[in-house]
């Protein structure tokens, strides 16, 4: 079956949900929640169907590319879609229990749907300006969600996030404008064809610099990371999970993979810049994380550090490195969402997220603590959990890069292992202060989180173990096809512009 007709639904369904939910919420709050859950399930079914089918292209309004907008569902996009669908469904189920203490819940679900629609759009689109539009849809709803609690800290964090992310958006739009002036097209496949045909000149280099700054800010790479440790902890827990688990990946890392591999190519200076950014993020993120006493802030710093691994993997420029990067992106989405959801459960039950005031929760909150331990082991890279395999791939890729980079590659691999160790140290601290140790008297009456929250925790923990134990199958079935789709520029062009075939296109004719 040709599943290209499914692809626009993946954007349309959550957009429609975002519209209907506030209306339904006026009549009944329960109706809004039911619709949100329904949209989550529908997205999962659609994404699974898209993943099962072959790669396909949908042309909006039947306009032939490069004039019209195309929606491209190849293996990389479908992998991201299924990740977004699974995590959003878990987060919606969790939010049904967690958001009870907030008012204006229909608005929350509406913004959440808008964010999902934006992320699906970013992942699916084959048009670079369209990518910017969806990126802004997802980003603007995330600013509102960070400020959702409207307390002092949340407003402050949201403003900081908004300003930095808005600057990033301006950079990206300026880059797109310059790219259009250079090539006269916005279609990514067409761009890839034109740019690989022409020698790299100053305009293309400037555009690359703008994109590195723009998407680096969205992905919270280290010179641009300042907003993340404020914005992610300030949001309500399901949104923290959404931001750390999905948003920085869909808006930042996916766009980096798609644009730098698909349109430009990762080599030379670009490769060096990505490696340096990745290493800086890994080291600085983890060193700042170790000293934190606020549970959610600690997790936020780890997001920076773990995203560093992904960007390092992309920067190595080898097929194995990219496979490790994509696998780590998926794994990080799963275990970081789980950790943030656990922190939400702890905060909801105990009323604090200061590590010094917690302790000994393993008997009072068994489900939360078990799942939290699984996620901690995953993020620290302990076998057989999923984080181990993806980190291993990245380390092997770094060692293999010694053939082209010389001894620097061993230093990179050494730093990678050191950061993994420091991650373990900081999660041992979390285990010691939250799960084990002495239960403070204040917390003697603490209860386990409600069932709906526990369901998502358990599902995500099972995913962590599953992706680890069956890592070989996951790699073969999901990650390697996605890697090939990201690397094979010619196949992407062929898929989007089949009529053009081998017809030579040069910069002159537009």
């Amino acid at each position: 079956m040709d599943n290209s007709q499914l692809l626009p639904l993946l954007i349309a369904v959550p957009l429609g949900g975002a519209f209907i939910i506030p209306l339904a919420g006026r009549l009944r709050e329960k109706a809004a929640e039911a619709i949100a859950l329904l949209v989550g399930v529908a997205l999962l079914v659609l994404a699974a169907a898209a993943l099962a089918g072959p790669a396909s292209v949908y042309r909006m309004g039947k306009w032939p590319p490069p004039f019209g907008i195309v929606i491209v569902g190849d293996s990389l996009s479908c992998l991201m879609l299924i990740l977004i669908a699974v995590l959003s469904l878990c987060i919606i189920i969790y939010a049904l229990g967690y958001m009870k203490r907030f008012t204006a819940r229909p608005k929350f679900y509406s913004l959440l749907m808008l964010m999902i629609a934006g992320m699906n759009g970013v992942v699916l689109t084959g048009d670079i300006f369209n990518l910017y539009v969806f990126l802004e849809i997802a980003a603007i709803s995330s600013y509102a969600l960070v400020a959702f609690g409207t307390e002092d800290q949340e407003l402050e964090a949201a403003f900081k996030y908004l300003v930095l992310s808005g600057v990033a958006s301006s950079f990206i739009l300026l880059g797109i404008a310059l790219l259009y002036s250079k090539t006269g097209t916005l279609n990514m496949a067409h761009l890839a064809k034109l740019i690989s045909a022409a020698p790299a000149d100053r305009v293309v280099q400037f555009v690359m610099a703008l994109f590195i700054a723009g998407f680096g800010l969205k992905a919270a790479m280290v010179p641009f990371h300042a907003w993340l440790p404020d914005a992610h902890p300030s949001a309500p827990a399901p949104i923290s999970a959404m931001l750390s688990g999905l948003l920085i990946k869909a808006l930042g890392v996916y766009a980096i993979i798609r644009i730098f591999n698909g349109i430009f190519s990762v080599s030379g200076t670009l490769s060096t810049i990505l490696i340096v950014m990745g290493l800086l993020s890994m080291v600085i993120g983890v060193l700042l994380a170790v000293g934190q006493w606020d549970l959610k802030r600690l997790l936020a710093y780890h997001s920076i550090s773990q995203m560093g691994y992904v960007v390092l993997g992309i920067g190595l420029g080898t097929p194995l490195g990219l496979a490790g990067a994509i696998f780590h992106m998926v794994n990080h989405g799963v275990f970081k969402s789980l950790l943030f959801l656990c922190s939400g459960a702890v905060e909801r039950s105990t009323g604090t997220r200061n590590l010094k005031e917690l302790g000994g929760l393993c008997h009072r909150m068994p489900v939360t603590c078990t799942t939290c331990s699984i996620a901690s082991l995953s993020i620290s890279g302990v076998p057989p959990f999923n984080g181990f395999w993806s980190k291993l791939l990245i380390i092997i890729a770094a060692v293999q890069a010694a053939s082209t980079m010389g001894n620097v590659a061993y230093v990179i691999a050494g730093i990678t292992i050191f950061v993994s160790f420091m991650t373990l140290v900081s999660f041992v601290k979390v285990q010691k202060y939250v799960i084990f140790g002495k239960l403070p008297e204040k917390l003697a009456a603490v209860k386990e989180a409600p069932v709906r929250m526990c369901i998502s925790l358990v599902v995500l923990a099972v995913l962590c173990v599953g992706l680890g134990v069956f890592s070989h199958a996951a790699l073969r079935k999901l990650v390697l096809p996605a890697r090939d789709a990201a690397l094979d520029k010619a196949a992407y062009v062929e898929r989007v512009l089949p009529e053009w075939g081998s017809q030579a296109v040069t910069l002159g004719e537009q």
Partner: protein, 113 residues
């Protein structure tokens, strides 16, 4: 060329205001200036000296007689996105002012770490 350089100067002025100013209203204004500079850049890219409005009246007119219509379509989209950003920023500024009684970021220091 001079026009492009001037547009970049506006862009950088906006960037400076957004990043360096302590008053959050000035930050917002800086963001708006950046937004407009990018829009102006898009207009310039589509501009063609002595170009006609992009409306075909007869089939013989060559495409090179018109200014490029695509950037103008992009600008409309970009302005709408800018509007949403501005509205949200203004709303946040109002809320922050209600909380702190000031627009000065030096007095908004509840976040730490």
């Amino acid at each position: 060329m001079v026009l492009y350089v001037l547009t970049m100067v506006i862009f950088l002025a906006g960037l400076y205001a957004a990043m360096a100013k302590k008053n959050i209203m000035k930050t917002v204004i800086g963001m708006l200036i950046m937004d407009y500079a990018v829009n102006l850049m898009l207009v310039l890219i589509g501009y063609r000296r002595d170009g006609l409005p992009p409306i075909m009246t007869s089939a013989n007119e060559p495409a090179s007689a018109f200014v490029d219509p695509l950037p103008q379509a992009l600008i409309v989209t970009s302005i709408v996105i800018g509007l949403a950003m501005t509205a949200l920023m203004a709303a946040l500024c109002v809320r922050l002012y209600q909380r702190y009684g000031t627009f000065d970021t030096l007095h908004m220091r509840k976040l730490k770490g």
